[in-house]
């Protein structure tokens, strides 16, 4: 969703890092462990990820089951209180974290694969292929993703997290394709790429062995942004009521909190945790990304 926010490489489009030996790895590590943004962002994301992975094992009932008294504020037994049906909000939150990371990885993954493929091919091949792919990218870029997704998923009677991920991936790749294309374009005129071409290597091998490794940091950052973006889009879809059927997610929690007017009943413990969860995950991902940018790009280092 955030094509602008911290998109990598507005500043370093021209000069991708040159390949060097292991010394570079240790140098990156040296700056990585001294970068507070990177450490804080990574710490929060990992903590939430662990909560989402491990947490559900400590909950012995279904998150949508009516287990407790109704409309309880947070207390010792139900850490985040209960809904007006008596569902345990902490249980929903923990399961919701898990599915939020899943949809991020899945939707972001699909978008990443499409985006980088289109970007590499367009940037490396150039000419008419570039023209066609560029046009395709622009078309998908202009279409408002959420609205397309609403229309597409409205006809499905049963929706799963898998289908949601594929659909999100199919609509959110264009800016990544554009970014990768411009990088690949500048890299593909380098001498070592020409050399590889002269030696008769296949296009695909040149892309994967000569071009991609030289922009690996860039690719990692693009993936992180796509990851955060698909979490936000998925939350929006869930909120409209097009989330996974019978599933649990942070977006669906917001939807039911809205639908059963928690706002007017003053049940703040119902709608604050899911939104806070999403904001924390995506926000830490963005800050982590800025940290990574500073680690990989010597120009931005402040040490």
């Amino acid at each position: 969703m955030s094509e602008i926010a911290g998109a990598p490489g507005t500043a370093d489009a021209a000069d991708a890092p040159e390949p060097t030996a292991e010394r570079k790895t240790s140098e990156v590590l040296h700056f990585a462990v001294r970068n507070p943004k990177l450490l804080i962002g990574l710490g929060i994301v990992l903590t939430l990820l662990l909560t989402g992975i491990i947490g559900p094992f400590f909950i012995d009932h279904d998150p949508n089951e009516y287990v407790g008294p109704q409309s309880q504020p947070p207390n010792g037994e139900y850490w985040l209180g209960t809904t007006s049906f008596g569902q345990d909000i902490w249980a929903q939150f923990v399961y919701g974290l898990r599915s939020t990371f899943l949809i991020g990885a899945f939707g972001g993954g699909v978008a990443f694969v499409i985006g980088t493929t289109v970007g590499f091919v367009a940037g490396y091949k150039g000419g008419i292929i570039d023209e066609i792919l560029n046009m395709l990218t622009n078309v998908v870029l202009v279409l408002p993703a959420l609205v397309v997704l609403i229309v597409a998923t409205a006809y499905l009677d049963v929706r799963g997290i898998f289908v949601q991920g594929v659909f999100i991936g199919l609509t959110s790749w264009p800016w990544a394709a554009r970014a990768v294309r411009s990088q690949a374009l500048s890299l593909s005129t380098r001498d070592y790429v020409d050399l590889a071409r002269l030696s008769g290597r296949r296009t695909w091998r040149i892309i994967t062995t000569e071009i991609a490794p030289n922009m690996s940091s860039y690719l990692v950052m693009s993936f992180i942004l796509l990851f955060g973006g698909s979490i936000l889009i998925a939350a929006g879809l869930d909120f409209i009521g097009l989330g996974p059927s019978n599933g649990v997610s942070l977006g669906l929690m917001l939807e039911s909190a809205m639908k059963w007017s928690s706002l007017y009943l003053g049940m703040w413990w119902w709608f604050i945790p899911p939104g806070l969860g999403i904001t924390t995950i995506v926000g830490s991902l963005y800050i982590l990304n800025v940290g990574l940018d500073e680690v990989f790009n010597p120009k931005l280092r402040e040490l």
Partner: protein, 331 residues
């Protein structure tokens, strides 16, 4: 310049054709019978009326004709401005229903986009390369962009609307009033508009501030900035030059972000039950009114395309380099 605008127009036209084709394809190629699933929720008690609706919609889809004829008929209807008839508000035409909601969405969207862009750019430009400010603006900006629109809307509705009780949280105007041109009605419109506007404005603000900050830092490193500095120009002047250069990517960014802000508007409207397109989409979904849904989709796409085109023209006006190409300068 004309080549540039011509290319853009071609892409937009292509996008429109693709959007219409998607719209035509989805009900036909998704699993299930669209007419039956659509009418399953229609609240029609009388079986005769239901049969009539069933016949009508089957006729609209034209399932008995070959596919290419269905496609052409679809375009024909579209070009006559016929988007079909609503199921939930049968027999009102979809176009009328949409046109009733559009002013509310525009009233939210346009001020929120433009103001957040202007204010965000100012904040970002001001904070760049100032240690203390930068360290607050940057994290706050990232947290704001990471916020789901509906969540901030819920927070504002709860804190300002319910707890503090200063602003209404539901509807486009007070339910006791009728739309008329009176001071009472207009003030009710405005008080109902503030909260949804504010929540959209705040979420959108963060992204612009961050983008501008990054661009300014980049510009301040450029040769012309260093040269000006070496000449002893005041830093205010250098920043002014940097700002003008940093504006260009932000204008492009405006076009790219349009879809995101628009989805934000739809979600915010749902929270506040604001009578715009977002609430309409929700109602259409709940009633499985696919005609309203698809009509809204087309309408939104056309709106986004027009807005993109306007941004392109503004870009040409602002950036002299695109104009040079018109007079035969180097491309």
């Amino acid at each position: 310049m004309w080549r540039y605008i011509g290319r853009k127009l071609f892409v937009y036209l292509l996008t429109f054709v693709i959007a219409v084709t998607i719209n035509w394809m989805i009900p036909r190629f998704m699993p299930g019978d669209p007419v039956r699933s659509m009418l399953s929720r229609a609240s029609v008690g009388n079986p005769e009326a239901l049969q009539r609706m069933n016949d009508y919609y089957t006729g609209v889809f034209g399932f008995d004709t070959p596919l290419h004829e269905q496609y052409l008929a679809f375009w024909g209807g579209l070009l006559r401005g016929d988007l079909g008839v609503s199921v939930m508000l049968y027999p009102q035409p979809v176009l009328d229903i949409i046109l009733r909601s559009v002013p509310y969405t525009l009233a939210l969207l346009l001020p929120a986009i433009i103001l957040s862009w202007i204010v965000g750019n100012r904040i970002g430009a001001f904070a760049a390369r100032k240690k203390l400010l930068d360290n607050t603006v940057l994290p706050v900006g990232y947290v704001l962009t990471a916020m789901p629109y509906m969540w901030l809307a819920l927070l504002l509705a709860w804190s300002l609307g319910i707890v503090a009780g200063v602003l209404p949280t539901s509807g486009g105007y007070s339910p006791t009033l009728r739309p008329e041109f009176s001071w009472l009605f207009i003030s009710s419109l405005i008080t109902h508009w503030i909260l949804p506007f504010l929540s959209m404005f705040i979420v959108a603000l963060g992204g612009w501030a961050i983008g501008m900050r990054n661009m300014i830092i980049y510009e301040l490193e450029a040769d012309y900035s260093n040269y000006l500095q070496a000449l002893g120009a005041p830093s205010r002047l250098i920043r002014r030059y940097a700002f003008r250069n940093a504006m260009l990517p932000q204008i492009t960014g405006l076009a790219v972000q349009l879809g995101t802000v628009l989805s934000g508007a739809l979600l915010t409207e749902i929270v506040f039950n604001y009578p715009g397109l977002g609430t309409l989409i929700l109602q259409a979904l709940n009633n499985r009114d696919f005609f309203v849904l698809q009509g809204t989709f087309l309408f939104v796409v056309v709106g986004v395309l027009i807005a993109n085109f306007i941004i392109d023209i503004v870009y040409v006006l602002v950036d002299p380099r695109t104009r040079v190409q018109m007079t035969g300068g180097a491309a």
